[in-house]
Symmetry: C2
Subunit: 413 residues, 2 copies
């Protein structure tokens, strides 16, 4: 049972309408771009809540970068206004098969790139919610959806989760199917999840990627990586992170400083791969519908078309080497902890913020989890990011839950 | 100017109708599943042939796995009959921008998997043309198109090229954009080309992936890899390949036997990745439209859904290690040469043949080129496959052209 989600004796119909009506009444932040009028066609088959299907009755907010056969899908772009795909994205179909339903489609930046959405941060509407998965982060933060789907190519799950104060999860590259999402940079594009707690994220992820129920004996040792971009973090974020580490130590965890300067190289190469592939993958949109694409993105694609293929090739090989080197490091720690963003959500809506704390990890293809445990100078949330080795998702959940407990315990004491 | 393609003083309109009429009159092998009635909407902009656009006037046959906004796209599946995408695949848009036009859509096995197409081998209609890019290989072999687009996930470009007696080219993984193709196993899916000569393939590839005009000084040394699956090749194919090697030596090339038993591991892990990802990526089709999917594929997807994610994760890491090890090997050779298929096209149309000579290379993400230089017991073609290191496409073209010249010279002497 997902935290905060109760069947309350409701029928599937009551459950569906209750969730939809809550969105209609409560979406003051522009989380959703489409909420259906009626239950889905297979609604009669939804069966009793909490029956044999592990996600029965679960409302999921879906970033409008995922195809949905029964709802419009515009990828955040005026050039796809009213577009209706013929199939669900694979993961949408999987969630439906597990008993969940699509609560609605959430705001994404255009093609998951940089031009901002019109949505706002639910903690302070004068601040950005982040991007590109803005609407999904907001939907969970505002209590409209217990779970939401997003994608991360640079920092588009972890950053908005940090800004909006929810748990964000980016599994290892390739772990959740990307069939039916609009490709941006397909060496990086990764499907991720938003929820209110590690337990909720884990429940949904385990339903999607069933694995053996392993016990993950933790050592209680964490590596604290300020990282090569620590100097770009806001002072209040640095202070909050140091204080979070102190609280973890006070709770009995061993937290040791670690260093990995090559993360900067991963981040640089990530950017290069992103820019090159974006120019390739969005070409048909740019060529045939460019007049409907945001001018800044249109220029970005035109610039990307000038980048030399050799640089992309070198970056791809360089990243493969970095992935291998990272695999051999930090093996004595349960996870690496670091800032999820350079600070609280920036004021203003003209930028979705800085992905520098995420891009390197995305390109390393490692799982990342952010916990809303820190706060910035205005009281806005900042995430503590946990990073594990590739395919160590279950270990990451165990560490995440441990940290949640530790910090809650300290908070209460 | 592509070999065999001449403007002959034709206007763009004459050129377009001539190519279309040739297909209508000549497609006796089931290469095409759709040929348009009228020129494309942007036809007026096509401009004079052989003008500033490097592929001006070039007809390209496009595997029906690529989206085309002005033609139906069914991905070889009855479940998508009449489907019309809203955008071109990125590479289709790129070809059009370079001046080429889409001659028509070619037959693909369902979702680029194993149930055969109804098309036949142009050298003998009682033999398979191979798969999955059957129609594209046939279109070039039958002289209906100078160039065709295909995709390879296991062996779907190199194998049908070998069976149909044309040049087949699979560049490094990720080199040509996959945006707008139906994903099968996206850790493997690679866009490739068919043409009548190495020069033609190179011309189109260089237009798509512009790079510096490097001179590739060749050493004239080749590594001959019989490989771990030599024993699965037909005897006549073994004899043809040994004889091809002897002809290369007679032409003055140094061809040395090389061994790499780990190719078998790459092949095994490729299969594992393929099967797992197929079950994930085709889930929406299987769940919602399974009744229209070939029963054998339907069962294959159902089986794939039972495969443990851990095995996929191990295979992904194992392949990354193998890729790195391969990068350090065979550096003194211009290319590795090996059989492109286990033999000539098998008799019968119930199977598209064996991809064992291709899957390992696909999973290693290295560029492969097959040349129609060998023949089997019935006189049907067999390809000699050249393999280079990742992103060494241009070197591969240079070696391929050298081998073409060597064997032509010997053949004429």
């Amino acid at each position: 049972m997902l935290a905060g989600l109760s069947d309350g004796g409701m029928t599937p119909a009551e459950n569906w309408f209750a969730a939809r009506d809550a969105v209609r009444a409560g979406d003051r932040f522009g989380a959703f771009v489409h909420v259906p009028e009626f239950p889905p066609a297979d609604y009669a088959e939804m069966g009793p809540l909490n029956a044999e299907r592990p996600l029965a009755g679960l409302p999921v907010a879906v970033k409008d970068l995922f195809d949905t056969a029964d709802m419009p899908t515009a990828y955040g772009s005026a050039s796809y206004a009213g577009h209706r795909p013929v199939r669900d994205a694979a993961i949408v179909a999987e969630l439906r098969a597990l008993g969940a339903f699509v609560l609605g489609k959430t705001a994404t930046t255009e093609f998951a790139t940089w031009p901002p959405t019109t949505s706002v941060n639910p903690h302070d509407p004068t601040h950005t919610p982040g991007g590109s998965s803005a609407g999904s982060a907001i939907a969970v933060a505002a209590g409209l959806a217990p779970v939401a789907l997003g994608t991360q190519t640079l920092g588009s799950v972890i950053r908005p989760a940090s800004y909006c104060g929810v748990v964000g999860f980016k599994p290892s590259f390739g772990r959740l199917s990307r069939a039916g999402i609009k490709p941006l940079a397909d060496s990086l594009d990764t499907v991720g999840l938003f929820a209110r707690s590690v337990t909720d994220v884990e429940l949904v992820y385990r339903a999607l990627v069933p694995g053996p129920d392993r016990a993950y004996p933790l050592t209680g040792r964490l590596g604290f990586l300020r990282g090569p971009y620590w100097g770009e973090a806001d002072t209040d974020a640095q202070v909050a992170m140091e204080s979070g580490v102190a609280r973890l130590r006070a709770a009995g965890l061993v937290v040791e400083d670690v260093h990995w300067p090559e993360l900067a190289e991963a981040s640089k190469l990530c950017r290069r791969v992103h820019d090159y592939e974006l120019g390739r993958n969005l070409f048909a949109d740019w060529r045939d519908w460019g007049h409907l694409i945001h001018p800044s993105l249109r220029e970005g694609i035109a610039h990307a078309r000038t980048l030399p293929p050799e640089q992309h090739a070198e970056a791809m090989l360089g990243l493969e080497d970095l992935r291998r080197r990272f695999r051999a490091l930090f093996l004595s720690y349960d996870a690496i902890i670091c800032l999820a963003a350079t600070g609280q959500a920036p004021r203003g809506l003209e930028s979705t913020g800085n992905s520098i704390m995420n891009a390197g990890w995305t390109a390393l293809h490692v799982p990342c989890l952010t916990l809303p445990t820190l706060a910035g100078r205005d009281g806005l949330p900042i995430g503590m990011q946990l990073v594990a080795h590739r395919y160590e998702e279950h270990r990451l959940f165990a560490v995440g839950a441990l940290i949640e407990r530790c910090l809650a315990g300290i908070g209460n004491s």
